[in-house]
C-alpha cells in the first residue's frame, strides 16, 4: 500500500481496518475516528483519488492501492477552509477536506448528485449541490456555512 506517496508495509491481521492501519499501525493520525461505522465521514481518505470512509474498509483490501490522507493533501481548499472559518474543533476537518477534494473531482467528471434536478444533465456546482455532496461529513461544531463557502470559493 502506498500512503501519501510512500511505500508502506505492515503485517496486519485481516480484521484491521484501513483506518486503524493508518492511525495505530502506521502513525498516520490525520484521518479521524468519529463513529467507526461510516456514519460521520471523519475518516475520509482518498483511494486512487476517490473518497472513501477508511473505517469500513479492511486494510488488506487496499494492498497495492494509493491512499492519500490529509497529510498528503496540498490543495487550495485547505487555505480556503481557514479563510472562511470552515472549521472549529478541527476533528472533522481532515475528513471534510479529503471529501471536498474527492467531491470536486467527482463533479469535474460530471457526476450527478441527489440535488441534481435532471440527472441526465451535467450539474453546476451550486451551494445546494455542495451541501448534498458533502452530507456524508458531519460537523458537530456546525461549521457547515464556512465549509460550503470555502469549497465554493475554490470551485470558482
Amino acid at each position: 500500500m502506498r500512503v501519501n506517496g510512500a511505500e508502506t508495509s505492515a503485517e496486519l491481521e485481516p480484521r484491521v481496518s484501513l483506518l486503524d492501519a493508518l492511525r495505530e499501525h502506521l502513525g498516520v493520525t490525520g484521518p479521524k475516528k468519529g463513529c467507526d461505522q461510516g456514519a460521520c465521514g471523519a475518516c475520509t481518505v482518498l483511494v486512487d483519488g476517490r473518497r472513501v470512509v477508511s473505517c469500513l474498509g479492511l486494510a488488506v483490501q487496499y494492498d497495492g492501492r494509493e491512499v492519500t490522507t490529509i497529510e498528503g493533501v496540498d490543495h487550495p481548499v485547505q487555505r480556503a477552509f481557514v479563510r472562511n472559518d470552515g472549521l472549529q474543533c478541527g476533528y472533522c476537518t481532515p475528513g471534510q477536506i479529503c471529501s471536498a477534494v474527492g467531491m470536486l473531482a467527482e463533479h469535474a467528471a460530471g457526476e450527478p448528485s441527489a440535488a441534481t434536478e435532471r440527472v441526465t444533465s451535467r450539474p453546476t456546482l451550486t451551494e445546494a449541490e455542495i451541501r448534498e455532496r458533502m452530507s456524508g461529513n458531519l460537523c458537530r461544531c456546525g461549521a457547515y456555512n464556512g465549509i460550503v463557502a470555502a469549497i465554493a470559493e475554490v470551485a470558482g
Binding site: Q37, Q88, R140
Partner: protein, 760 residues
C-alpha cells in the same frame, strides 16, 4: 504608590477583527493531535465491557475466553480491580468536585446502576484484540428492581435542588390566580427528549504512569478539575498528575466531567504498568457519558387584551440518575425575559436508575426557550398580535424577579436588527398563508438568552526582548477559537502585532485556566489577560525609567501601547528597545496563584464575586432568532431555508470565530428542533440509537446560510465588555423553528423533535 499603567490604544484594529484561526493550518493539514493520537513506547489498548441491564448485582463474570484471546494482557473486573477512592459529591468549596460525574466507584462494586455501566475493562496489545476480547466477557447478573421510564416516573417528581449557576424556581405575586382571571391566556405542555452531545471526537484517554506520577492526554473541557479528581481517586498528589489537552474535538458540555472511561484507562495503566489508550467507541460514549435530560414543561401565560403579561408560569420536570446528574435550569430564561406582573417558576426532578444526566450546550435555556417562546408565539396568535410586538410590550426595564438592574440589555436592538435583515415586515400573519410553489412557507421568531458569568483564570504573559509575547494558561480549545481570541486580546492590550503573540494552553503544567463551560472562558480569561498586560506595561515603564528610556521620563497616563512598544507625546520606544537597554531578556506578568493558598483565595474571590455580581446585575447574552421553514404539504418534511440571528454578546473580539460559534449553536438548535432524539427503551433503560446513523444530527444539506449579526455593544460590567457566545446561539432556535412550522402549517408541535409524522 502604584501608578495606573500606560493604557492600550482604544481603537486597535486587532480587537474585533475577523482574524484567521491561529491553529487553522494545524487543523487543516492533519498536524493537530487529539487525545487518542499520542504514542508512547509499549502502548497498549483498553476496551470496556458495559452492562446490558439497568440495575443488578453481578453474581459472576466469566473472563476465561477473553483472557485466552491472543494479545490480551488482563481483564479487570470488580473481582480483581484495585480499590480506588470515591470521588466526593459535587459541592463547594472545591469547585473541581463538580467534575464528579457519578457516585459509582467503577469496578469496585458488584452493583450495576445503569444500563451501560462498565463492568470490566480489557487490556490488550491491539485495539482490535481488546474490543473482541471485551465481547467475550460474560457477566452474570441478578436483576434488581429498576425505574428507567421517565414518563412513567413523572408522578413521583420532587422539588429540584438548585445547581451552582441558577436557582430552581422563583415567584412574584400569585401567578395561578392571575392566570385564572386573565382576559387572554394559554396553558400549554411541552416535552423534549434526551439529547447527546455527539462531539465528533469520541472520548479518549491516553494514560502513562511513571511510578506515582501520572500523565494523561485527555479530551476534556476541564483539565484542572480532571487532574484534581484523578489525583483524588488514585491517591496521589495533585502536583504529580499532569493532564494535557491541546486540541479537543468538540465538547458541548459532554467533556466537562470525569466519566468512567478516563478513570478506567488510568486504572488499566496503573495495573499493567504500561501506557494505556482507551478510545471509546461511539456506542461506549452513549453508554458511559451522560446526555441532556428529557423534560416535560408547562408554560402558561395570561395577558390583557392588548398583550401586557399578567401571569407567567413555567414549570419543569427533568431527570437525574440516582447516582448523580445535572439539575437542569429549565426556567432560567423565564426569570428574565418578560415583564409579567405575576410569575411562578418551579423546577422538579425525577431520579432514575440511569446514568447521570449532564450539561449540554445551554443546559436549561436550550429546551426552556423552546417551550417559553412557543407559548409566547401562541399567545401572540390568540391576541392577533405580531409576536415581536408582543415581546416588545413586555420587555422589562429591570429584572422581573427582584428588580435587579440589567448590566445592559439590547434585546430591542437585536429584534430591530434581525427584523430588518430578515424582512420580517413582509410576513403575512395568518398561518398557512405563505407559499412558494407547492411548499408551505413559515416565518418564526424567538428570543435567545444565556446568562454571563466568569470563572477564575490564572495567566502568565511573558514579553521577550525580541518584542514577541507568550500567553500561558491552561485553558481549552474545543473549537471556539480561544487561542486566537486571547492572542488578539494580548495584541490589543500590549499594542503588538497579532503575529507576535504565541499562546500555550491545554496543559496543567501551565497556570490554571478556567473550564471551557458556561460560555465563560473568553471573559474569564480576558479579565486576567488584561490585568496581566497592565502589569506588564507597568513593569516595562519601570524598566524604562530605570534605564533612561524616553518612555520612562513620561507619565504612564500619557503613554499608549502601540506599534510594539510604549509611546507618548515626547516619543516612545519599542518593547525590544526598552528590554534591550535594560539588559532584560524577558518580563513576566502573572495573575493568580497556583499555590494551595493562592487557589483557595482565588476560589473564595470567585465565589464572593459571583454572589456580589448576582446581587448587583443581571447579565446575559441575548438575541433574536428568525427562521424560515418550508414544509412539504404532502409529506410534512420540514426544511430550514433561511436564518437570521441578531445577537448581543457584548464586545465581539473576533467577528469570524464568534460568528462560527453562534452559527454552531444554531445548527445544533436546528437538530434539537427537527431531528435529534436519544431513544431510551422504557423497558430496559437502554439507549437504542447509540450511533450517528440513528441519532440524527444535522448534515450539510439541513443547514442553509445562517446570517449572524451583532448588536456590538460592550457590556459595561464585563472585562472588555465581553459576554459569552458559546451557548446563546442554540437558545431560542427550537422556539423559532416550532413557531415557523406553526406559521407554515397551522400545526403547533408540543413535542420535540418536529419530525414529519407529527405534521401529517
Amino acid at each position: 504608590m502604584t501608578q495606573a499603567p500606560p493604557a492600550p490604544v482604544t481603537e486597535a484594529p486587532v480587537l474585533g477583527a475577523p482574524v484567521d484561526r491561529i491553529d487553522g493550518t494545524a487543523k487543516t493539514t492533519g498536524q493537530a493531535r487529539y487525545a487518542a493520537e499520542f504514542d508512547h513506547p509499549g502502548l497498549v489498548h483498553a476496551a470496556l465491557v458495559c452492562a446490558t441491564v439497568p440495575r443488578a448485582r453481578l453474581v459472576g463474570i466469566d473472563t476465561a475466553d477473553a483472557l485466552a484471546h491472543p494479545g490480551v494482557l488482563t481483564v479487570l473486573t470488580h473481582e480483581n480491580a484495585p480499590t480506588m477512592r470515591k470521588s466526593p459529591s459535587p459541592g463547594l468549596p472545591d469547585i473541581s468536585t463538580m467534575a464528579t460525574a457519578t457516585s459509582v466507584t467503577y469496578l469496585n462494586t458488584d452493583e450495576v446502576h445503569w444500563n451501560g455501566q462498565p463492568v470490566a475493562v480489557v487490556v490488550a496489545t491491539t485495539s482490535d484484540a481488546a474490543k473482541e476480547a471485551a465481547a467475550l466477557v460474560r457477566p452474570s447478573y441478578e436483576p434488581l428492581p429498576a425505574t428507567v421510564d421517565f414518563q412513567a416516573a413523572l408522578p413521583d417528581a420532587r422539588p429540584q435542588k438548585r445547581n451552582p449557576f441558577s436557582p430552581a424556581g422563583g415567584a412574584k405575586g400569585d401567578a395561578e390566580a392571575a392566570l385564572a382571571t386573565a382576559p387572554v391566556s394559554v396553558d400549554l405542555t411541552f416535552t423534549t427528549p434526551m439529547h447527546h452531545h455527539n462531539a465528533i471526537e469520541p472520548h479518549a484517554t491516553t494514560a502513562v504512569w511513571h511510578g506515582d506520577r501520572l500523565t494523561v492526554h485527555e479530551c476534556t473541557q476541564t483539565i484542572d478539575w480532571t487532574r484534581r479528581r484523578l489525583a483524588h481517586v488514585f491517591g496521589v498528589p495533585v502536583a504529580d498528575v499532569r493532564v494535557l489537552a491541546e486540541f479537543v474535538g468538540g465538547g458541548f458540555g459532554g467533556k466537562g466531567y470525569l466519566w468512567p472511561g478516563t478513570v478506567l484507562a488510568v486504572l488499566a495503566a496503573r495495573v499493567t504498568e504500561r501506557p494505556v489508550r482507551l478510545a471509546l467507541s461511539r456506542e461506549e460514549v452513549y453508554r458511559t457519558v451522560g446526555g441532556r435530560t428529557p423534560s416535560t414543561q408547562r408554560v402558561a401565560l395570561g395577558s390583557t387584551v392588548d398583550g401586557k403579561l399578567t401571569a407567567l408560569v413555567h414549570t419543569s420536570i427533568t431527570q437525574l440518575g440516582r447516582i448523580g446528574g445535572w439539575p437542569e435550569q429549565v426556567t432560567s430564561q423565564s426569570r428574565h425575559l418578560y415583564d409579567a406582573e405575576h410569575v411562578l417558576l418551579r423546577q422538579r426532578q425525577v431520579e432514575l436508575d440511569a446514568l447521570s444526566t449532564t450539561t449540554m450546550r445551554a443546559p436549561g435555556e436550550s429546551i426552556g426557550t423552546y417551550a417559553l417562546e412557543s407559548a409566547v408565539d401562541e399567545l401572540a396568535h390568540r391576541l392577533g398580535m405580531d409576536p415581536i410586538e408582543l415581546r416588545m410590550r413586555n420587555e422589562p426595564d429591570r429584572n422581573p424577579l427582584g428588580g435587579t438592574r440589567f448590566s445592559h440589555r439590547r434585546l430591542r436592538e437585536a429584534y430591530a436588527l434581525g427584523a430588518e435583515r430578515f424582512g420580517w415586515a413582509e410576513r403575512s400573519p395568518e398561518p398557512g398563508s405563505m407559499r412558494d410553489g407547492r411548499w408551505l412557507v413559515g416565518w418564526g421568531v424567538a428570543s435567545a438568552y444565556h446568562p454571563a458569568q466568569m470563572f477564575p483564570a490564572n495567566v502568565t504573559v511573558r514579553l521577550f526582548a525580541d518584542g514577541t509575547v507568550l500567553l500561558r494558561s491552561a485553558f481549552h480549545e474545543t473549537g471556539m477559537g480561544q487561542p486566537t481570541t486571547q492572542a488578539q486580546i494580548v495584541a490589543h492590550e500590549l499594542g503588538v502585532p497579532f503575529e507576535a503573540v504565541r499562546v500555550e494552553h491545554g496543559d496543567t503544567a501551565l497556570p490554571t485556566g478556567p473550564p471551557a463551560g458556561g460560555s465563560m472562558q473568553t471573559a474569564s480569561l480576558a479579565a486576567s489577560v488584561r490585568a496581566a498586560c497592565a502589569d506588564l506595561r507597568r513593569s516595562v515603564h519601570g524598566l524604562a525609567r530605570r534605564s533612561g528610556s524616553v518612555v520612562g521620563r513620561q507619565r504612564p497616563a500619557d503613554l499608549v501601547a502601540r506599534d510594539g512598544g510604549l509611546f507618548g507625546p515626547d516619543g516612545g520606544e519599542t518593547y525590544a528597545a526598552i528590554l534591550s537597554r535594560a539588559g532584560q531578556s524577558r518580563v513576566d506578568a502573572k495573575v493568580g496563584s497556583d499555590t494551595g493558598l493562592g487557589r483557595v483565595t482565588g476560589q473564595l474571590r470567585f465565589a464572593a464575586r459571583m454572589v456580589r455580581d448576582g446581587m448587583r446585575w443581571v447579565r446575559a447574552s441575548t438575541g433574536a432568532q428568525f427562521c424560515e421553514v418550508r414544509v412539504d404539504p404532502d409529506t410534512g418534511e420540514v426544511r430550514v431555508t433561511r436564518w437570521v440571528g441578531a445577537f448581543d454578546i457584548g464586545t465581539v473580539v473576533n467577528a469570524k470565530t464568534a460568528t462560527s460559534q453562534l452559527r454552531g449553536g444554531i445548527v445544533m438548535g436546528i437538530g434539537l428542533a427537527l431531528s435529534e432524539e436519544t431513544l431510551v427503551d422504557p423497558r430496559t433503560g437502554r439507549i437504542m440509537n447509540p450511533n450517528l446513523s440513528g441519532y440524527h444530527v444535522p448534515v450539510h444539506a439541513d443547514v442553509p446560510e445562517l446570517d449572524v449579526a451583532f448588536v456590538g455593544d460592550p457590556d459595561p460590567t464585563m472585562p472588555l465588555g465581553v459576554l459569552g457566545a458559546g451557548e446563546v446561539g442554540i437558545t431560542g432556535v427550537g422556539g423559532a423553528v416550532a413557531n415557523a412550522v406553526f406559521h407554515a402549517t397551522g400545526r403547533r408541535v408540543y413535542d420535540l423533535p418536529i419530525t414529519l409524522d407529527k405534521l401529517l
